[in-house]
């Protein structure tokens, strides 16, 4: 029960922190400290009431001077930078990836049990380099595809990875937390 209570408070603070990001350091710390103190350690029945009465974290941050327009401006700047990085990756990726791909293929082939030293003796041209050049178009496509996949995997983890986000109003509507209200 106590865990659920603390989870609700943590969820609330997690919403408040990013909303207050545009505030100067000292003011942000002061605000977060006060709100944390205010929530205190209420019992299970009180926590939802306390959070509901505190109100929307974004509104509190706005009142403290953390203008959402600044945040929007910041995120649009980040978005602009991301676009530039993507364009550069698209331009340079085709130059860099084949070289990296060649090295990867060479290592894989050397390590492969299907290609033995005897084969290398019999046909020196069928060494890793030759294999690599023969399967060049196919492998590089594969490497490129896996590079694309790893690019996709580089995106920030979805927010669900964070601790569950508490919206005060959910206390009333979330059946999982109904026992608290």
């Amino acid at each position: 029960m106590m865990t659920a209570t603390q989870e609700l408070i943590d969820g609330y603070l997690i919403r408040l922190e990013p909303a207050a990001r545009t505030l100067p350091e000292d003011r942000r710390t002061e605000l977060l400290t006060k709100i944390r103190e205010h929530t205190g350690t209420p019992d299970e029945t009180a926590v939802c009431d306390v959070l509901d009465r505190l109100g929307d974290p974004e509104e509190i941050a706005r009142e403290a001077g953390g203008a959402p327009s600044n945040l929007g401006h910041l995120s649009s700047r980040v978005a602009a930078h991301s676009k530039i990085v993507v364009v550069l990756l698209l331009l340079l990726g085709s130059i860099v990836v084949p070289f990296v791909g060649w090295v990867v293929r060479a290592v894989l082939l050397w390590a492969s049990t299907r290609w033995t030293l005897r084969q290398a003796d019999q046909d020196p041209w069928s060494g890793p380099e030759a294999w690599a050049s023969r399967s060049s178009s196919c492998s590089s496509r594969r490497v490129r595809r896996s590079a694309d996949r790893s690019l996709r995997e580089c995106r920030p983890a979805p927010s669900t990875a964070r601790p569950s986000v508490c919206q005060p109003c959910r206390c009333r509507t979330n059946p999982g937390l109904a026992h608290i209200t």
């Binding site: 006060k34 205010h38 974290p57």
Partner: protein, 116 residues
């Protein structure tokens, strides 16, 4: 007037007057944050989001209208108490005079309009 406009007007009026209500609460007594919020919350429609009172208190302190001291509490962790500064006292006095004039002015016209 649409509902949205009415809400907006109420928000604006609250924003303009709430700081002085806080100063008035501290006129004769020093109080801690949760106590101030509780007293404001006892009057209907004064505060819709209690959390916004903390930024307001911080602003009043930056403006030099209130000052704070930490005090030990018998029931829990130390509390930050707020009290009026001389500047806060003057600001409250000035507002009280202006508010009376403004209220009478509005009441003059509204009273005529409603026939009371």
């Amino acid at each position: 007037m649409e509902l949205g406009d009415a809400q907006n007007l109420l928000t604006q009026m609250r924003r303009g007057t709430l700081p002085y209500c806080v100063l008035a609460l501290l006129k004769d007594d020093e109080r801690y944050g949760v106590e101030i919020i509780r007293l404001l919350g006892e009057v209907d429609s004064m505060v819709t989001s209690e959390g916004t009172v903390y930024p307001l208190l911080a602003r009043l302190r930056r403006q030099g209208l209130v000052e704070t001291t930490w005090r030990e509490s018998t029931t829990g962790p130390p509390r930050r108490y707020y009290r009026l500064t001389p500047a806060g006292d003057r600001a409250l006095d000035a507002f009280v005079g202006e508010w009376a004039r403004f209220r009478d002015g509005v009441g003059h016209f509204i009273g005529k309009g409603t026939g009371t």
